[in-house]
Symmetry: C2
Subunit: 504 residues, 2 copies
């Protein structure tokens, strides 16, 4: 149509879109997630943790800044000012709010305080494939427990959780390290003090690659740097080769020590290499304790393994750190076969509450990345069965909507998932709608049927099978009719019968 000249200008309409890094989640994924969260909650409860919910918004200073690898100090967190000009932030994890909660309520809480929490966290980071700015975590933490048994327990909790979700033993491993071990190793090569903070970080990042790269490549990352296949250059930690090799061998020896073996000479070698370093020795002793506790409780090296190459990003860890890794292989975005990798982790953070109170409150925790774990379960084919769509009551006669509504309510009152078609389209489109909803069956009542006190049930699942089979076997359709007329009084019983056939 030609526009008339004195037409009012078209209103400016917003474009319906989401900011980058945010996403909508549909019914199937939500149902899977619900089932997952219920299972995780079951394990956390069994371990004696109690639920706690803190709000999404906190004072910025209360959260602190502990995000990994933020080049700019204000990055990583969504922040805004309150009416009184104080800065607020969206929580970026569930641990910082826990520290605030414990500091605020210390006297009232049982000590140790064991809580679990799940909810959305927000990162104001550059989104990427599978990397979102809002995602769900599921954490368990024990606050006020100095005992390394609390850390050992986190590792067992992690293993039990993955198995409860159906991940077979052998397809996952909980890797355990201790920050003090790495700190001691770095002390030994002179990387001590604030002036070496950046180089220590580069060393840690290099060691983190030990499960992906060859030793030779990690050595490059510890020294002069490494160029990858695409020509991209990663700067190195600029250690001399002796120091780099010493770091690598200590990491490897420490790892080997905890692998069951008759060759106890290794252990002696290890002790000599790092002898007298108090930081290392404390960390090593803590790893030994975790090792013996989990073994005593029946968790073998196939489930929980000491691995000094585990880094974990967050700056607040002070002792043991854990990583829950899925070891089976999947294709990555570039089509390469890779191990699925980390789906959660945690560690000990003895200083987080002290930020507020000045008083040290030892704490340790474990956190699951829910979406990532859900992706893992999907790639393992661990899906709960599809939910059937609702029974759809078709509207054959618009003057009789109240009658159709009543049929629908009768089904619902009997606990059957049902709806009346609420659009304005005809019979054919209504059938299409029922298909799109995944309805197992539709209820049809024309005026003739109403006069007779009857309804017709059309079994859409049988119907689809019959339609597919009809070329080969016409009789099949006749023998198992997908459509039947029944007295209205039998509605609930007959619908239940059909649903029972399809729900198994």
């Amino acid at each position: 149509m030609a526009k008339s000249e004195n037409e009012t200008p078209a209103p400016i309409r917003p474009v319906p879109r989401l900011p980058k890094g945010f996403r909508d989640i549909g019914a199937a994924e939500i149902r899977e997630q619900q089932a997952m969260l219920t299972k995780i909650r079951g394990v956390y409860e069994r371990y004696g943790f109690e639920p706690l919910e803190t709000p999404a918004i906190e004072y910025t200073d209360a959260l602190g800044k502990f995000l990994p690898d933020q080049d700019r100090p204000n990055e990583g967190v969504f922040s805004f000012q309150d009416e009184d000009e104080q800065w607020l932030s969206l929580r970026y994890d569930l641990t910082a709010p826990l520290a605030r909660f414990v500091a605020e309520n210390f006297d009232k809480l049982p000590k140790p305080f064991r809580r679990y929490a799940t909810g959305s966290v927000f990162r104001n980071e550059k989104p990427g494939p599978g990397r979102f700015r809002q995602f769900t975590q599921f954490d368990a933490d024990t606050v006020g427990a100095e005992s390394i048994a609390a850390d050992a327990e986190m590792c067992m909790l992690a293993a039990d959780t993955l198995e409860a979700l159906g991940i077979p033993r052998g397809d996952y491993v909980i890797k355990v390290n201790n920050r003090k071990v790495l700190d001691g190793i770095m002390e030994e090569v002179g990387l001590v003090g604030p002036e070496f903070a950046t180089r220590r970080l580069t060393v840690l990042r290099a060691l983190d690659k030990l499960d992906k790269f060859s030793e030779q490549e990690v050595l490059l990352l510890l020294t002069v740097g490494r160029k990858d296949a695409s020509g991209d250059f990663t700067p190195g930690a600029l250690l001399d080769v002796d120091a780099a090799e010493r770091i690598l061998s200590t990491v490897k020896n420490t790892q080997q020590y905890f692998v069951p073996s008759d060759d106890m000479n290794r252990a002696k070698q290890l002790d000599k290499a790092i002898e007298g370093n108090a930081t290392y020795n404390t960390g090593f002793e803590e790893l030994t304790q975790i090792h013996s506790m989990v073994r005593a409780a029946g968790y073998g090296v196939d489930r929980i393994r000491i691995d000094p190459s585990v880094i974990r990003g967050l700056e607040y860890y002070t002792g043991p750190v854990f990583e829950a890794e899925l070891t089976f292989e999947v294709k990555n975005e570039d089509g390469q076969t890779v191990r699925f990798g980390s789906v959660g982790g945690g560690g000990r953070y003895d200083d987080l509450v002290a930020r507020f109170t000045g008083q040290k409150v030892p704490a340790t925790g474990f956190s699951i990345g829910v979406s990532r774990l859900q992706a893992a379960l999907a790639s393992l084919g661990k899906k709960s069965s599809d939910t059937l769509g609702p029974v759809v009551v078709l509207v054959m006669d618009k003057g009789e909507v109240a009658a159709y509504q009543k049929l629908t309510q009768t089904l619902r009152a009997a606990g059957i998932r049902a709806e009346m078609y609420l659009g304005s389209a005809g019979m054919k489109a209504q059938m299409k709608y029922a298909d799109k909803r995944g309805s197992p069956l539709v209820v049809i009542q024309g005026s003739d049927e109403r006069a007779k006190g009857e309804v017709t049930l059309k079994d859409l699942i049988e119907g689809a099978k019959a339609a597919a089979a009809i070329k080969d076997n016409k009789e099949w359709k006749e023998a198992r009719p997908a459509q039947l007329a029944i007295p209205e009084t039998d509605l609930v019983a007959k619908v239940r019968e059909i649903l029972a056939r399809h729900e198994t």
Copy 2:
């Protein structure tokens, strides 16, 4: 201790606190809420709605501004800029994001599109008692259905949900009105056009008070204004008395029309009073349809009631509006006896999707205020039974932590909620801890018992009863000992036995 002079200055520590209007939610309330959400979800699913989750953050322009009664245009919403300087906001309800989702995915969706959603919403408003800046809603919406049957269904959904939560029939009512009815009534007294927008709002607010104030007081609010007992003055809508009385009588007549009665003269009177007003007539006709549909489906006037005094705040409603009201009485903060009031509501909003697409997409929905409803259930005494705390395994000998850990894991592997005491305190403090956690029993193993392969179970619930009874009846304690030594191999069986005693 005296401070030494060359001490470094104390670090500035953040105060652990939450911004006003935000709160932490403890274990008991979370468990109640979980149970509630499960029941609500059950009803919404039964009605054929599918879950959908949208993120907490949206583009500000996509959400639009539909908050009620905001004096300043930028108020009510938490907003901040993204890195590319576009404005983002936290969602203030679940309806505006649904409109964005539908506009964005229109072609892919089944029509009508029926979804439910639950999650936190955020209001940057002045918090008050029971008024928070983050709270949970639970919504069901049907998008793409012009049929008034969709609205009737929302009312039945609301009634069924409240009953599923255990609110007895008679203690709630779903009130139904239609914006067109009120618009028509206001047209009749000349309140038409943008210049009367503020006065129309004042009229609506006055009518909203009909369930709290006397008619005479509402009449004051419609005319010259009203001074309350404390001397506070509420300005009136400045109508002349005739107009005000006409509004009041039409509202009351409309209401009476739908109350079952033999006196049909009322209906005739009503028709005459407002004859020829198309807006009113359309609204009245829609109310009539809802009325007959819900009655046909068996919902009486005790559950769903037409009530033209219902207003609902949000500006985006275009037709039927609903209010789920709890009618039982509670004490308010001032100690006065009041009806509990609204726990949810909704209505038809035919223009929300058109904001994006220019194409009208009729829609209607119902939203529950979860915390408010939870408070209502609490005041009705509808609490699910208390959860028992975990079994606590005491640590009698710190050198044997691995053995205690193993006992704990044995219990957990059998599905029993259990934990080892992880603090550093002695026996007495450990017992206190178990009490504070609500533990039903503790597991004790000293070195003597370990040597004999035994453990001692101490039943804390029996123990407490015995301690209370001991003055009167010393033998009682002997007959039902709260403490028993058992072989370690019987641990799981005996613990189960004790738990079964307390879980009923």
